[in-house]
Symmetry: D2
């Protein structure tokens, strides 16, 4: 599994990361969503550099041009609900791609341990496709792994790009151990070394779903 | 249940409706999503005329202005997956509102009858709030009714606005019979008189979810 | 000249007006531009209710629908540079309209009096068209009047809608006196009663161009 | 003058280039503008990789993060009117940058030769700033050179990035000869080898201003 940390090189992406982390700025929820959307666009563009192109002849008003265009648009899967703004950004660039939506939830047991279940999935056939699977954050990595495995029941993609805005080092280790295949490329904005007991990234940004869409009721 | 059919009066909304219905134009999926999003904005604006405002004193560079601003932002609930683009449009105008997402699916039995189940819901507390519940289309009205009832378990809203881009006459009748309360206002772009046996609106536009996000796999 | 003050009725438009006036919020220049853009969309929608429609038969996947669609898209003229974000909003809804751009500047003479000159204009033929002429603010009304007259050299529009986000009472009086024809409709968000000696609206919002695009150099 | 041709490497940028060149697709003017805007975003992102960053400590809900953020936002200058959609894209990423607008026109004399004049400019102080100067196309290069020189009267930028979606080989030669300094970096999507007698790129895309905003009147 190849790992690309886009924030390591200086670029405007880091401005977006600074804004979603900043406890003052992140309380502006439309801006928070917009920053995730812009990050989705940057990931789309960087991922697009790794895709396959074929030459198409385009008729212009003054002649014809040969232009390398995408062989196959990818499928854009996202994890509900925090992944939605990143998914919007990915869709802005891969605008003819099909979409998949998936939801996993933690069922916490009395003794404190939890298990992750899939309760919602809507997905096109994935056999032979390029899959881009996005979520806001990678914490433990368990739900990302589970969502990925669930999506495989819709067919084996030719390649999968997993995208999160921020990731924990532990989550990346988890994916490395459990999804260690050359058929997966992992993309993230930045890697945080720690997590709280409740699996929040440290320094992280808090709860991405709540910041984008408000707190859930009981 | 008050009913507002926004497309009855001539406005640019009908241009958007024409484009999402038109079998040629609707194959341009980014434009299809954009038209749903623009319609969501128009619904947001028209609904906003019915909401309550209180006067806020705003300090400008040259003085102070008294401006009527929204007393409470509404909660924006949408039905997965076809409701997402309308939800984006509603969020563009009610940009500090909290969001709810809900999914219902039809379980079809051997004898052909089906039952609708809720499999995903993420929702803030709704007690006393203004709820705007959106979906792309209102067909039979069964899943809209079921989603609405499910959301009520998160608290009784002060008022609910149900929004769909297109509706069947039968679906509206269903809501009238089953949700007939002055606490609900129904908003739609246009009303179609017929439905196919598979509950597609006629003339309708086809499957809004497929047009926005691609066909689902098996 | 008919006058429509959209902020008089309670709607989400007033939230946008509050944000562009508010000295704290307006320093967020991307949000300032976005609020002007959203206001442009609302003006587009309200103006669209006054335009002419003809019925078009649209072929859907399941039949045909008769939909009233715009007879002729309007021409969207805007005054540089402060009008650009409103123009973007108008274009978002009238997306096949042609655009005109015009610039006027105040030449201030030694004795303090000034004269307004046109230095830039790019405009399609306007003969028989519906013209929507936008600017951020209406202050004295002199440059709006001059720009309107300059545009008339490109043909006599069938009707002209003049749109500004905020207007001074004096500026409206100026237009009433000098452009008093039933062929013009004036649209604004709110009317401010006073102006400073430098022709800033009071309470107003300051310099719309600077807030959107930064201060000019010398 | 360093030259970067972004379309040489396969990326989604070429899809956008294919769409703006394609005589069928370019007649969809909102999409044409959107493609220029998306290209502006991609240029913004790639240019951002060359800018200077300083580390800022950001307080998150769970700690502090050190993030490299832009030392100084650039100034975004664009040439009217065809540059406006690219400028929108650049602003989407450099959203706190100041803007400059400039217009040049060709005055054609009886004997067929023409001279380019500046008729409109609005510009902040540029001394020591990073300037990004954009236009849709680079044809002969004369108006780009003239606009650049006009902007220099507002101060000497620390560095200038010139951006066009498509460029003629001749236009690049012109800039190389006349603006050959290490203080300028040139960015373009693709280079066309030929031009018509009327200075349209071949194969090119036609008139970018007309495609974005409609034909001008007489």
């Amino acid at each position: 599994m190849k790992i690309n940390i886009l924030g390591s090189a200086g670029s405007i992406l880091n401005q977006f990361i600074a804004e979603i982390r900043d406890v003052q700025i992140q309380s502006d929820s439309p801006r928070f969503r917009q920053n995730l959307e812009r990050m989705g666009q940057v990931f789309a563009y960087e991922i697009s550099k790794t895709l396959e192109y074929s030459t198409r002849e385009v008729v212009t008003p003054f002649g014809t041009a040969e232009i390398p265009v995408l062989k196959n648009p990818p499928v854009l899967a996202t994890i509900m609900r925090a992944g939605l703004p990143i998914h919007s950004g990915l869709m802005n660039y891969f605008d003819c791609a099909g979409s998949a939506f998936i939801s996993a939830y933690r069922k916490v047991y009395k003794d404190g341990h939890f298990k992750i279940h899939i309760n919602y999935v809507s997905c096109p056939d994935l056999g032979g496709e390029v899959l881009i699977l996005s979520d806001a954050l990678l914490a433990t990595g368990y739900s990302m792994e589970l969502c990925y495995r669930e999506l495989l029941t819709y067919g084996q993609p030719a390649h999968t790009h997993i995208v999160t805005v921020l990731s924990s080092a532990e989550g990346i280790d988890h994916l490395k151990k459990n999804l260690n295949t050359s058929q997966i490329t992992f993309w993230t904005g930045a890697v945080d070394e720690e997590m709280t007991a409740q699996a929040y990234l440290v320094p992280g940004l808090g709860d991405a779903g709540d910041l984008a869409f408000g707190k859930k009721g009981d």
